[in-house]
Symmetry: D2
Subunit: 349 residues, 4 copies
Amino acid sequence: MIRVGIVGATGYTGVELLRLLAVHPEVEIVCVTSRGEEGRSVAELYPSLRGKLDLRFVAPDPEQLRGCDAIFFATPHGVAQGMLRELVGESLAGGPKIIDISADFRLRDRVLWEKWYNQSHACPELIEEAVYGLPELNREAIKEANLIACPGCYPTVIQLGFIPLVEAGVVDATQLIANAATGVSGAGRAAKVDFLFPEVNDSFKAYGIGGHRHQPEIEQTLAQVAPAGVQPSVTFIPHLVPMIRGIHATLYAPLVDKSCDLQALFEERYRNEPFVDVMPAGSTPTTSSVKTSNMCRLSVFRPAQQDKVVVLAVIDNLTKGSSGQAIQCLNLMFGFEESLGINQIAIQP
Amino acid sequence: MIRVGIVGATGYTGVELLRLLAVHPEVEIVCVTSRGEEGRSVAELYPSLRGKLDLRFVAPDPEQLRGCDAIFFATPHGVAQGMLRELVGESLAGGPKIIDISADFRLRDRVLWEKWYNQSHACPELIEEAVYGLPELNREAIKEANLIACPGCYPTVIQLGFIPLVEAGVVDATQLIANAATGVSGAGRAAKVDFLFPEVNDSFKAYGIGGHRHQPEIEQTLAQVAPAGVQPSVTFIPHLVPMIRGIHATLYAPLVDKSCDLQALFEERYRNEPFVDVMPAGSTPTTSSVKTSNMCRLSVFRPAQQDKVVVLAVIDNLTKGSSGQAIQCLNLMFGFEESLGINQIAIQP
Amino acid sequence: MIRVGIVGATGYTGVELLRLLAVHPEVEIVCVTSRGEEGRSVAELYPSLRGKLDLRFVAPDPEQLRGCDAIFFATPHGVAQGMLRELVGESLAGGPKIIDISADFRLRDRVLWEKWYNQSHACPELIEEAVYGLPELNREAIKEANLIACPGCYPTVIQLGFIPLVEAGVVDATQLIANAATGVSGAGRAAKVDFLFPEVNDSFKAYGIGGHRHQPEIEQTLAQVAPAGVQPSVTFIPHLVPMIRGIHATLYAPLVDKSCDLQALFEERYRNEPFVDVMPAGSTPTTSSVKTSNMCRLSVFRPAQQDKVVVLAVIDNLTKGSSGQAIQCLNLMFGFEESLGINQIAIQP
Amino acid sequence: MIRVGIVGATGYTGVELLRLLAVHPEVEIVCVTSRGEEGRSVAELYPSLRGKLDLRFVAPDPEQLRGCDAIFFATPHGVAQGMLRELVGESLAGGPKIIDISADFRLRDRVLWEKWYNQSHACPELIEEAVYGLPELNREAIKEANLIACPGCYPTVIQLGFIPLVEAGVVDATQLIANAATGVSGAGRAAKVDFLFPEVNDSFKAYGIGGHRHQPEIEQTLAQVAPAGVQPSVTFIPHLVPMIRGIHATLYAPLVDKSCDLQALFEERYRNEPFVDVMPAGSTPTTSSVKTSNMCRLSVFRPAQQDKVVVLAVIDNLTKGSSGQAIQCLNLMFGFEESLGINQIAIQP
């Protein structure tokens, strides 16, 4: 059993961590922090945990956290980078493993981070030590990492959809379109009029047309896998769906290699992946088929007589899109079975 | 055409007033106030009104408001009573007609109001001038009123369901149960975590068990219609439904007069009411059958071999439950056809 | 007052026609047909119409229908073409005006129709008399028509979004992408497991990837407005949203004329259109902003540093997407004000 | 590991059994029957099970089923009683344990069953061998049973709410009111217009006022626990909520023993129950707090100055309300830990 702390556990990412870790056979949750809810019983805030977790929220205390084997940051961006230096001292090595679910260490280019997040980076010296926590891309590096930068929810599913195509060089990676739609939990558990039930129910809209922070993250990853000399570019339009959980990505790319067997390409790329399911040719994934599970399901199509590839891909934004994938990284870092504690079957209906 | 002002028009009650009044043939909206949105175009906040209403929110200005023929208060409780004295001067007579959609003048007993609303009443001298704006009960008084206290949403539908039974003395009015359920718009357009989409969607709960402010209002009205010497008492349990609009009341009462023809009683009581629809015997109303309309539909049952009456009644909480009924009062006060501008057919589906 | 008949009025398109026509000041509904519900009161099937419409469903009777001034077909495809020949005799002229909301006369190429709808066309001789009922494109022809082929719901909004760009030749019309999402009422009121509440709620999916019947319709219209020699091609991916009403289209096109002022182009194209609202630059439309109204709202964007145009466009699929637009055509055909009876403000919230 | 068969596994109860049993550590699913889907892969119908269960639906075959250690019937009423005689031969003893999730053996009075289910009972001789599968009432009998009649979804939650009160004799059990509301999955996975998304979303209604089959079941159980000479009577009004899963019961009873400490009564009654959670005084349960879990949460209130008890109780209708509770019985029958495989934490949000 390892000792785990969670910083900022009152949001949706936090409660999803608690749901999964409270019954993870190799994990003991020892510390759950929240400044706003300090002293309150976790089970009072989340009655679903009554009888399953007997802890109270505490204010974050570096000394206590240093006693953990692993620490999850389920905080708004800016928090992890602000706490890390004090927490880990001179070096990450030897301290608790850090798994940051926030955006703080996702972009390897500090200047780019500061531009998109509109603040200066508080801990730039650790950026290069961070490993991007997408197991399907960085499994071996994750095993050795001391600091994981978990991918964003949109980037997880969009990257999993584009990677086989871009790696293989069968599409024009400079003309990618990612049309994606998220459930409302993606907006977090903050009191905002825009996400009240009457505002979002029975309605659908696009947002963030002027530029979304997940776009440079997607392009950074695709650049890593693209053939030499290719600089991928993505037009990314997110939408809001009146559902609680789930992300659906509809990806478009101009097909360059028209002889490519797309179905075989995807099946081969993900043959050994425990959490990526390439659907049979012709079938389409629904977000409900992954609800509360850590799976990504995807399908690839070439619409009739057109030189385009269309990929459909779905995840649960709170599981594979954040907390579940973070635990997948934890499992890799500590040598547990990769799917330990995150192998739940999606809820139907 | 009369000139109408709306105080506090940014909430759901406000935008429902705007939807209905913007096309009311006898009304010109001349003034829409909001402290928080002062200077902003109404159509920018509510794009549904683009091209239909060319006004900006202004800060409330008593002088400007005094130039109106009628003023609606779509404000939180406490606001109308605070502004009224300055607005109307010595006497309500001769000034603009006041239609208060808030709770400020609903309870005729000042002490009771202060207890339930937990503040002292700022304008107690006007309480007795206020007419309770339930046309099915007070039609003639409304026509002559200078100040209308519009019923709450729950009280409207619960009272319409109980009134025929209590008036006729066929039930034991001291043992009434009102089990009711509302859509989330009833909670208003305020930024609260409890009403975020992920908190309320796909869930159902009771609330306010310790006592709801609508309970004394219901009992006050029923006392008005009950046989002499009977003091009605209601156990009122409200619930929250993951839908935007609508209230459904399931009412229970011990039947005293077992020979009563309940269907006939209800049909007779509401025979000439334009906005109360007694459904055919055996049918059950759905909230969707009144969505966006000013209708109340109800059914009455006597479950097999039991000495109980069950009434099912539905309204749209934003229309018959607040803004639509407020306009029904306006029509009565100014001598317009009672259903003018509020005769829309409910949306299906 | 004109006399109107509705064939096949039990579905969602039918009840939307009834909602709008029952209070249309120039229309008397004289005949509502349904084989399945023959003899049943319309208000029994749709309690929202209680007190508003006192009619029973009848079996379709050509003689009775010939006594109408106008007939709406709100039927599955294949029905209108099967009834029309008997109904109108030798010539459409002089008989009732026909407004077909189904797909029977949308495609001008009979062979294409038969391929996509997988049956032979029962009345091909009337195809060329049919006028495609998109007022923003064919207003003058609609005024003179005897037979209107109303556009499909997806085509309405996708065409309104693409027309300004394709007409002006500022995009590469051979590389269009239409990513669209519909509410569930678009699937109709038929008993199918796939559209049960538990199947579609809290989920999102794409469908019809192999080819959707609306694609040739969209390409036919765009070919009509494209510069000479350009054959538009659209990759069309529809999605299903857990909401009742509404369609949202996210349209992508490669920008050819990079100096084009896109906002001005759209504002100019739709300057005089009563039912197309070009939103201010930078704002995004929500489907709720048009719910139950006949408006189409749209925005046009050029995402930063990319040579793409993105158009966002929304309609209510049952109003502007079918029944509302059909009445807009009726108004034009009979010389009524174009917005008569369909000028409702969208519901908020 | 025991060998388990499931008869009629295509519905919502069936897929919930599959979700839970596919990862139950002591169960091997060996046979899944469906006449309609014979030959089809289970994972094709329910993609959530891809990679988790590699079985095809087969037609029910008594010989194959006799090779199981336990058989679940997740069938419409009438099916289990029709198959049982052939399946078990002369005696239930020695054959597979039967766990019937349908209504076939719930009522101990054959005449009552035939009246409410409107057909003759095909296997009345087994009625008295059936044990009613409510562990909180019949735990010891369940352990020894060969045939379990699982409680209905409504009866489970309503009985758990009333039992402490009726057992203790502190309420007038002849005047009980059960006002309950269910999610739409309770209506099953059958193609019916009434449960299409557009019909039920954004709406709320009561149904079954004339009498619901769960009423005699509830009264039968309460009669079993009531003080001698008391014949409990319940007015039961069910409602339909636009949510997928969950039942909420609001129970009313006249308080007879006004000195009773209701909170202590409930806490004591359920002190050792693994799946009944008595909430702290003053808090109210939400259906989301038990979603996808096997828990029942409840609260008890005595509204101010009234001689009534109000109990609020929630379950997930597909878990504690059917399949989860059926597995709870299986665990008891085979001597497994009672919570094995059904100890999941509810999903939040």
